[in-house]
Symmetry: C2
DNA sequence: TCTGCTATTTATAACAG
DNA sequence: TCTGTTATAAATAGCAG
């Protein structure tokens, strides 16, 4: 899909990897947005960057990042190419807009993460958690611990179905 | 990306929508898998089909659905097109294989869901849950309840950032 | 309804600034 | 390090069976 075909294994160069991550993350979120739009379905994605920073996409939720970044060419920051009276003013404005954009992005990302968390919550803990007593919490802990052990061990491949069956009954 | 360009709005025909969903979901999961492989990052996707069925992809986790379903063409069910001695036998076999396939699909789907759940778990509850004491569990419940209330009300749009800030500090 | 086939559109790897 | 461009690889819309 680029100038040449690439091997499907980890990109060794840090810098290239970061670039690849950014581009492909954008592409993935765009695809997710299209899927959500075309098929009217709910979707959530959470991905951690090579640096460990979380990025997320969710639908429904606020307008997807993708669109925001794809369609708003006219929101470009002012260039210092015309009148000179505005030079300093423009610079200041530039700074302010940048900060606003940063905050906006942060808010969007976190909101998406929250939506993701909530969806996961629904998945893991089907019924109202606020009604749980201590005993149930303990039981939940046991269940989650179990789940984690199963996963960490990766030894579950063979008996997956039985374990999974149990889990499935919770939905 | 197909024979002709399509409008980015909900596909009105039910049948077409289902097909589009299946194809694009596969594509999305493949992209996600590539991103995870190329950049060595964790990722989780949960999407609900038009029919409301959950599909999920997670890395790390067990082998992706995509590969499993993409590569096993040879597992097709037998057709009743040849010898007649085997007619009844074939029918029976057919039934059995169908049941196996159903169970396999079910297992695969659940396995995926499990992986997704585990990833979400990491997201919500960063440190080892098995070490949590009762007090911490209670605190966790409080936090989760809070989260749910925020979401259910959807009244959070404006003050999202503050709430979200809290969540973000957990990473 | 599901699987496979291509004409096309879309995503992106390598570059360039 | 970020942003934009372009040649090319990859995804997929509409069909066909």
């Amino acid at each position: 899909m680029g100038r040449r075909k690439i091997e499907m294994k980890m990109v060794t160069d840090r810098s290239c990897r970061q670039v690849t991550f950014s581009k492909r993350r954008t592409g993935l979120f765009k695809k997710a947005n299209e899927l959500a739009t075309l098929c009217a379905v709910q979707i959530v994605i959470v991905v951690f960057s090579p640096g460990g920073k979380p990025f997320s996409f969710g639908n429904p939720g606020v307008e997807p990042l993708v669109d925001r970044f794809t369609n708003h060419r006219d929101h470009q920051l002012p260039r210092d190419n015309s009148g000179r009276r505005s030079e300093r003013l423009a610079e200041e404005l530039n700074g302010i807009q940048k900060r606003i954009q940063v905050e906006k992005n942060r808010g969007d990302a976190l909101e998406k993460a929250l939506a993701a968390a909530a969806d996961c919550l629904d998945f893991l803990i089907p019924r109202a958690i606020e009604e749980m007593g201590i005993e149930e919490l303990v039981e939940m802990r046991r269940r989650l611990t179990n789940l984690r052990e199963q996963l960490d061990g990766r030894a579950m491949e063979m008996e997956a179905s039985s374990t999974l069956m149990l889990l499935s009954n919770r939905r």
